[in-house]
Amino acid sequence: MEFITKEDLNEIKTPLYETHVKLGARMVNFAGWLMPVQYESILKEHETVRTLAGVFDISHMGEFIFEGPDVIPFLQYLMVNDLKLLEKSKGQYSCMCYENGTVVDDLVYYEESPERFRMIVNASNVEKDFQWINKHIGNFRVKVKDVSKERCRLAFQGPKSDDLIAPLVDTDLSTLNRFYFVFCNLCDIPAFIARTGYTGERGFEISFENKYAETIWNAFIKTGAGAAGLGARDSLRLEACYCLYGHELTNSITPIEAGLNWLVKPKEGIDFIGKEVLIRQKKEGTSRILVGLNLLDRGIIRENYKLFKNGVEIGYVTSGGFSPTLKKTIGLALVEIQYSSIGTEFDVEIRNKLLKAKVVPTPFYRNI
């Protein structure tokens, strides 16, 4: 038995660090932040989110505010998705890519007004993104501010999240459609509340000033919702087949390869970084593509395990694990295109043994 032990000591704490420790959380370093990976049990937290509601501290994620008359044309230049599809009070998922089409980051931005946007980015990419964005501002009349460390971010997710949040807010959120957001009072505290999430359940992502973190967290716990950590966040997003930067999306994988063909828009007449490669890949396809896997033999598959067909390497696992909802081993993998159709079987190498896996439809589970 060997365990991962001893964190280094330069970690950043979220405003809820003490709260997590008091709840008995196991704290781990994630992208430089000391985060709760689990409270009591990842499986239980996963189930709570699938059946009731769970609250996640996601304050490690980055939050930028864009302001200026050129915000929309600037984001059109940085993003693969098309902001013409966006409107005030709505958010949009997108990727920022390099010129070669591989991914700087995947993120969500919200249009508060045509001249003010809020963007939520991955914790591990905050500095890189902020530099990338500023490097490309050029003549665009835009100012970008990193407010990540001034604000607390929570995700409140689960089939009962609507019912449980209702008594805490002064606005009817039941009519808020997916990807739309409001500013309202949550426990009498001004908050940004969006109907977005990373679990495959209905729910909200929320942002407010740090000093209210404990009040709002405790109010959610008091509703009967469970505290959920990064472990459950990962198993939930894997079942729902949401890409995780560093796994399905990296600086050597394009959104088209990651199965996000729908995300890259033609944007005729609009130039954006990576456009040439991505539009070509969209038309002609790619030599490899992301697929969903079920393991047919017993075992667990993990990232970077290699895939073989008749002894020849054909790809690798980008994320894998046990699906608590489906009670079987699932994974996402990048495979050569000729082995990507549903029903294709091949081998996964697990510590020098070959186990059978099969390509299956994705997502594995969503209830939105």
């Binding site: 038995m1 060997e2 365990f3 499986l43 472990g231 667990i300 993990r302 694990g321 046990f322």
Partner: protein, 131 residues
């Protein structure tokens, strides 16, 4: 953390426990080990009849987040495995010294038993690991 360590068992520094009955050793992982691993979702058991030296890898234990090896705490032959945990790996979490036992070994070198740790020494070792 309220972990239990039965005093009648011997422990390996690699966190396996051993219950001796003549030349038969029942083996599992300690309460500390299951707690550190978190929710166990798969146990790869050794094959019956396998003969291995002390310290060899007997199988693997996968929790939601991690994979760990299970070692032979004593040299011997696997004569029985707990098939129940193949279907219910959570027994290793809920009952590490009972329903969650892993394998039974017919030991071939009884002299090795004295190198296993008593409960007091094992607990001291864990406390040091935690510091």
């Amino acid at each position: 953390m309220d972990l239990k360590f039965p005093a009648d068992l011997k422990y390996a520094p690699t966190h396996e426990w051993v219950r001796m009955d003549g030349d038969m050793a029942t083996v599992g992982i300690s309460d500390y080990a299951q707690h550190k691993l978190g929710d166990i979702v798969y146990v790869e058991l050794p094959a019956i009849g396998v003969v291995l030296e002390k310290g060899s890898v007997a199988g693997e234990i996968e929790s939601v987040k991690a994979v760990s090896e299970l070692f032979f705490p004593l040299t011997g032959e696997v004569i029985e495995i707990n098939e129940n945990i193949a279907d219910n790996p959570a027994f290793v979490n809920s009952s590490p010294y009972g329903e969650g036992w892993i394998m039974k070994i017919k030991i071939s070198n009884p002299d090795e038993i004295k190198n296993l740790l008593s409960v007091e020494i094992y607990q001291e070792m864990i406390e040091k690991e935690e510091d």
